[in-house]
């Protein structure tokens, strides 16, 4: 009924601010050697919390059981890392990937730096295993829709024939050859935009770095991409997963050891035109935003892989995602469908604690 659409516009609430955030990125990062350790006494005196602005989102880090000194030093290094990634992986600004994107359509061979090669190499198997549903090569489509902008403009959706032409050109990661540090594109419509995958891959690197400097209990959270190591003393880290249509949390999951938890959703970046929601996850086969799924949550070893899987499963949709998940090696998946039903894999079932009343209708999926 009407209440659904009312709810839609009201529920996009907090996440939306994200749309306007990327603009500030480069300016703000520099001013942001942000150090803070708070959280008054209580039970968690040893928890250090930091927040900074990078990779297009607010990145928050929590370290447990380290000295303030060690935490601050680690944070300085991590801030350097994030600044580097920010510059290297931005699809349009002058930087490594920005330059690659200018040369790639020319179809000649050229050398680029390891930062982009690594990202590309990491993304390729996910492209193949997802049958092209996870496709960071559709930057042109993303640009056509305006989702590459820091602040998403509310406008008419692009013309159907323009979308059609870009879909027909079939840009894909399989059309990029990599030899050492040399790469060559085979399609003049190639434009790399790694989106959330870069966030996931980035926090995987951050976790590695933290381990090297002796931090073994931490959460790194970059919006929808999150990875933890260790635990909070004797307790696991407790993570709330945002409800795709409401203010609060839909479910809680405990994670510990070394795990990534990534949620991809249609509420993260979108605009509404004529009462219809157009969100940032585009189906490479149609050129339009995916439908049928509000959010996908994946628990996996690495955040990069989990992000690629979550994105691909959004595209695959209600019927097809279990098959793609299997191919991509995902076992722990939660999918919230358009009508509010939840699909949950058996492996994740025992770990998810729903926080909404009444409970959503849950379908168990065997993988």
């Amino acid at each position: 009924m009407d209440s659904i659409s009312v709810r839609n516009c009201l529920m996009r609430l907090p996440m939306i601010c994200r749309s306007s955030l990327l603009r500030a990125v480069s300016v703000v990062l520099i001013t942001l050697l942000v150090i803070s350790c708070t959280k008054p006494a209580e039970e968690s005196a040893e928890l250090h919390h930091f927040q900074l602005f990078a990779l297009g989102t607010t990145v928050s880090l929590d370290f447990y059981d380290v000295s303030a000194n060690k935490a601050n030093n680690a944070m300085q290094e991590v801030t350097e890392d994030l600044r580097y990634m920010q510059n290297a992986w931005h699809p349009h600004k002058p930087g490594t990937l920005g330059r690659v994107n200018q040369i790639l359509p020319l179809k000649g061979s050229f050398h680029t730096s390891g930062s982009v090669i690594n990202l590309l190499q990491a993304a390729k198997p996910h492209f193949t295993n997802s049958e092209g549903l996870f496709n960071p090569a559709i930057g042109q489509l993303i640009k056509l829709w305006g989702f590459h902008e820091d602040e998403i403009a509310i406008k008419e959706p692009p013309q159907a024939d323009k979308i059609k032409a870009l879909v027909a050109a079939k840009p894909g990661l399989d059309q990029i050859e990599i030899k050492g540090t040399a790469i060559k594109g085979n399609n003049d419509q190639l434009l790399l935009n790694f989106g959330g995958f870069a966030k996931g891959f980035g926090i995987d690197l951050i976790i590695e770095h933290l381990r090297e400097v002796g931090i073994h209990n931490a959460i790194v959270n970059a919006g929808g991409d999150l990875r933890v190591v260790g635990s909070k003393g004797s307790e696991p880290w407790r993570i709330g997963i945002k409800h795709p249509r409401q203010n609060g949390v839909i479910a809680a999951i405990n994670v510990s050891g070394d795990e990534a938890l990534v949620t991809s959703g249609d509420y993260e970046r979108f605009f509404e035109y004529d009462g219809k929601r157009y969100h940032h996850v585009l189906d490479p086969r149609t050129g339009y935003p995916t439908t049928g799924v509000q959010s996908v949550t994946v628990v996996h070893q690495s955040a990069g892989a989990a992000d690629a899987i979550a994105t691909a499963l959004m595209v695959a949709g209600e019927k097809d995602w279990p098959r793609i998940a299997k191919k991509m090696g995902a076992r722990s998946v939660m999918v919230v469908l358009e009508d509010g039903r939840v699909q949950l894999t058996e492996k994740l079932q025992d770990r998810v604690e729903f926080k909404v009343q009444p409970l959503p209708k849950i379908d168990l999926i065997k993988l």
């Binding site: 942000v34 927040q51 900074l52 990534v262």
Partner: protein, 119 residues
């Protein structure tokens, strides 16, 4: 003069109203006792039983929140779309409001605490 149609309407209305309860009425949803206000460089816990107005410095400027009668809301924010203000009063555990451009978030805690929120 009560007709058969009246009886039908009464029965139907009765069942409609009764069925609304399991659908919408949420008696178990706990009210929060604490709000966690995080900004770029700090995280502070606000007790909801103490009314007051709090200011916190974000990326773009000052976000102002108000605690009143065990509820909390964002009063003012320098971000452009003001979604955080539009989400209104928060009072139940797990409710969450954020202004990402300003790097400020508000999260309500009760018995159930989260270390991080995945959104």
């Amino acid at each position: 003069m009560t007709t058969r149609a009246d009886i039908l309407v009464l029965l139907f209305s009765f069942f409609l109203v009764v069925s609304l309860y399991p659908l919408l009425w949420q008696p178990h949803e706990a009210f929060a006792d604490t709000a966690e206000l995080s900004a770029r460089s700090s995280k502070r816990l606000l007790a909801l039983d103490q009314d007051g107005v709090y200011r916190i410095e974000g990326f773009l400027g000052e976000t102002i929140v108000e605690v009143s009668e065990k509820k909390i809301r964002v009063l003012a924010s320098p971000c452009s779309n003001k979604q955080c203000i539009r989400s209104g009063w928060l009072q139940k555990v797990g409710e969450f409001s954020a202004c990402l451009p300003n790097g400020v978030s508000l999260f309500l805690l009760g018995d159930d605490r989260y270390d991080s929120i995945n959104f």
